[in-house]
């Protein structure tokens, strides 16, 4: 089971074991990770599931595509090349050790 670390805006870390096939958002929600709201439930409609993928992990997750970037534009915090909507990141085996940071706010 891939192990994933969420780092909150205040630096607090939550480490969880992800079920394969889940999205990063589903993992966060199932483990009560504070700071991901996911109001639309993963439909890429709400942009309240924004995360920053840490370091080289972006090679593994890939960057946001065009539609996702359009949606990310609605997120209130700064959008960087590392920004992803966590509902659009599917967890695969090779993501064991993935680290993502959470923005200060989602709305």
């Amino acid at each position: 089971m891939p192990r994933i670390t969420f780092i909150a805006a205040d630096g607090a870390e939550t480490v969880v074991d992800a079920g394969e096939g889940d999205s990063l958002m589903q993992v966060a929600r199932a483990h009560n990770v504070d700071g991901i709201l996911a109001e639309c439930g993963g439909e890429m409609m709400c942009s309240t599931c924004h995360v920053y993928v840490e370091g080289d992990w972006l090679d593994r997750t890939g960057p946001a595509d065009e539609d996702e970037r359009d949606m990310l534009d609605f997120a209130p915090c700064e959008i960087t090349d590392a920004s992803r909507l966590s509902c659009q990141v599917k967890i695969t085996d090779d993501m064991d050790g993935l680290v993502v940071r959470l923005p200060e706010r989602q709305v």
């Binding site: 589903q26 929600r29 483990h31 639309c40 439930g41 439909e43 409609m45 609605f74 709305v107």
Partner: protein, 403 residues
Amino acid sequence: MERVVVIGTGQGGFQLAASLRQEGFTGRITLIGEEPGLPYQRPPLSKDYLKDGNDARLLLRPPDFYEQQRIEIIGSTRVTGIDRTTMEVETGDGARIAYDHLVLATGSRNRIPPIAGLDRPEVLALRTLSDARVLRDRVEHMRRVVVIGGGFIGLEFAAVARARGIEVAIVEGADRLMGRAVAPMTSRHFLDVHRGWGSSVHLGQFAEAVTDAEGSLAVRLRNGSEVSGDTIVLAAGVIANDAIAKEAGLATDDGIVVDDLLRSSDPNISALGDCCRFVEPVSGLVARLESVQAATDHARTIAARLVGQPKPYAAVPWFWSNQGDRKLQIAGYAPDADDWHVAEADGKLTVFCFAGDRLASVETVGNAGAHMAARRIFANAGRVPRKLLETADYDLNAVMAAA
């Protein structure tokens, strides 16, 4: 304020509680809901849940969230009355619960059309998780289903059923699909899509009766013809759960009437989501919307007010419906649309809906970029003049820059 009581443990009730804590509210929060269990999302019930049956994925938050946030959930309990003088609600088992502020998040229920024979066990509805479980089990053995109602939920279900090889007949009383919610061209598009998938669609046909027919059931239509199926799914729209509000003397009008701060006619009582009638801010029209967006944005508006930071409701309406591989997205609210402009290219459909000389909504299929741009335009500039679109050759990004 010491205690906020919320009636309803759905999308809006949950959001209200979560937003109150986010805003720093430290008082007591109690959610009372008729359904058992924790708040869950309904949209997947007519989509992925019918395929994956994954209950855990439906939960809006896991159990520890409610403990951590000190949000009290009283499930399987119906509120039967509101006493506004003593500021208490009464539950079905006779308990009285006092509130300092009450939030009505009672949602809506399925409309039961006047069709004879609906009391059969093969006639199923789709509103709650327990409805969806029954439907999901049945989907495994269904061979032929009749869907009564060609709205979003009926069509989403029809798409799932068809993809499993089930024969599908859709019966719709109006002369087009999703008629109350989308432009004629969008209806047309989805009519072609569903027919293309092999569903038979009966438009302008009211179902009149469900009867027995040689080992299965038949739905008799107004024109006398019959469509048969082993299962019937009733998806004929919803009605607001506003009865307890009405009995308590609050203003209602197919929904609990609220102002731009989501207050009912009693300042100690707010209402949100499916059960309320509010002024939709982009159009200025009075509306009752059944959407995740309305429920969550209403909840945030109420939470901000309850912690002493009132801000009038200003959110842009948005909605989606997944039918098979088609994703319909709607930005804006346009019951008053009277003219349309359609752009269709590379499998993307964009319908611009105009009310008078103003852009009122944008409906897209497979064109997320245009959907987002439209939401931005409505948020920043409201209903922009049609001229602006014409000048920009209907390029929403250019309109956004100009607006």
